[in-house]
Amino acid sequence: MGEVLELRELSRHYPAQRALDELSLNVSEGEFFSLLGPSGCGKTTTLRLVAGLEAPTSGRILLRGEAIEHRRPHDRNVSTVFQNYALFPHLTVRENIEFGLRHRHGGRPVDADKRIVELVEMLQLGDKLDRAPEQLSGGERQRVALARSLVLHPDVLLLDEPLSALDPNLRKQVRDELKALQRRVGITFLFVTHDQEEALYLSDRIALLNAGRLEQLGTPQEIYQHPCSRFAASFLGRVNWLNGTGIRPEATLLSRDQPANSERVYDSVVQRCVFLGNHLHVEAELSGGEHFIAELPCNSEGFQAGERVHVWWRAEDELLLPI
């Protein structure tokens, strides 16, 4: 599979700040690629640079091998799903979806009607076509925004936190639908989120950004299991720091008897033990005073607060971080 999008040392500097600093990455054809990072790390800036809504300070953007960083937004075959969806309030759902087809470079494609019918069916918008955007629910608005962009068959679809405007119950369901949709249409997604769970769940690969710079790039598993820094380790999930070693809560093991493994065993005192349905959540403290959390299988036996236990882990579960 070839590269669709390539960013080369892309930077966007503001007088007071480097919103994006020398970001380089490749996105492959058909990939679900996520930009993950805390608020203000430059995710939206990256999308706006690719879409052409902002100009880079330096660096290049290649779309299917062609430099596009100097092209106007309407001259780039990418499309954005905005965070608030930005549906045109004075147009109906149908007119919103047809907007791009009307203005597309080179006129309306011959298969335009077929594309619309397919997407409308796929996104279940059939009975909403004549409504105004304000008469739609949040989930429906999001589907219209998707349809409006996908109907153009963009080389890359840019999505800026498209799930954040939805209420939490709906978010999980829409997340599944989004993933299924991407598989079905086969279009490359460049997806922005600050929610690490969302990124892990959806992505083929993740680029973790920190203060405008690329922190780490890899598959969800690589980044979760082999983070390259303390920042990456803690951004992707909880980490226990036990005498300087990083361990995920689900790899942190507790037992009353002395475990066979003798190298990585410490004494600790249980503070709290709660049953959370899918796991047993134990908070405890090392004798050195370090606080940690263990997530044990839900069928393990519970512990009493104040009980002394051994904490240990397997060598392969250690997060190996450069010092």
Partner: protein, 266 residues
């Protein structure tokens, strides 16, 4: 005090009755003169004594050659000035929205607070200076130019207020979907602004139609607008025709303001 259903009711304002009396009096003070004008416009007598209902002053007003001519002038000026001021003002507001400039905004505010008489005198001086170099005379066209000048700022204010409530990502979405800058403006921004532009145009029309001070300075000798004609008639002495035509003007302006407010609220 316990939470009681009383809390649901409107809180009683101390001296609430006095407040409403005061409001009625203030309203009367504001509008009584207009009310009297309207009453005497349908009075059969020429003098300020009620003699019964009659529309004779309206009939006389409509047959007054000078009044009708000046009304026509006023309409021509107002329509032309509104057209120019709306286009210029809308584009100016759009530019200010895209690239906020404190200097341009301050310049516009300055023209809001310049006393009318000063503006009139400066315009007259300006036109006279221009006439040295070009073969021009004062007339309806100079009135139109003057009116465009002072009504643009009202258009800018109204349109800019609407733009500031508009989501900038809408225009970006249009560009993103393949529209050129012009298409994005034409197909997204302009339709969303239309009610505000309509309201602004009506406002410009009213301001132009009403103006006396500046108009009288730049009108020259042989073009007269309705406010100028009314002023001249009123100075010649009590004339119920003035009452009749003024009532019509108040009716027209009042209607336009109502429509304009409706549009602005959309």
């Amino acid at each position: 005090m316990s939470a009681s259903p009383d809390l649901e009711q409107h809180p009683r304002i101390p001296g609430g009755r006095w407040l409403s009396t005061y409001a009625v009096l203030a309203y009367l003070f504001l509008h009584l003169p207009l009310l009297i004008l309207m009453v005497f416009s349908v009075n059969a007598s020429r003098f300020t004594v009620w003699e019964g209902f009659s529309l004779r002053w309206y009939a006389e007003a409509l047959h007054d050659q000078e009044l009708m001519e000046s009304t026509l002038n006023s309409l021509i000026v107002a329509i032309a000035a509104t057209g120019f001021a709306t286009v210029v003002g809308t584009l100016c507001a759009y530019a200010l929205w895209k690239r906020a400039s404190r200097w341009i905004a301050a310049g516009l505010a300055l023209s809001l607070v310049t006393p009318e008489i000063v503006m009139g005198i400066s315009l007259l001086a300006f036109f006279q200076w221009v006439f040295r170099h070009f073969d021009f005379r004062l007339g309806l066209h100079t009135i139109v130019l003057a009116h465009v000048m002072f009504s643009v700022v009202y258009v800018v204010t109204v349109v800019l207020a609407r733009l500031r409530t508009m989501d900038p990502s809408l225009e970006e979405a249009a560009l993103d979907l393949g529209a050129t800058d012009w298409q994005a403006f034409r197909r997204v921004t302009l339709p969303l602004l239309a009610p505000a532009i309509g309201a602004a145009a009506l406002l410009a029309f009213i301001i132009s139609f009403d103006d006396y001070v500046i108009t009288s300075m730049v009108a020259g000798v042989d073009s007269q607008t309705l406010p100028m004609a009314l002023y001249a008639m009123a100075r010649r002495g009590v004339n119920p025709v003035v009452n009749a035509i003024s009532t019509l003007v108040v009716g027209l302006v009042g209607t336009l303001i109502l429509v304009s407010e409706r549009l602005r609220a959309r």
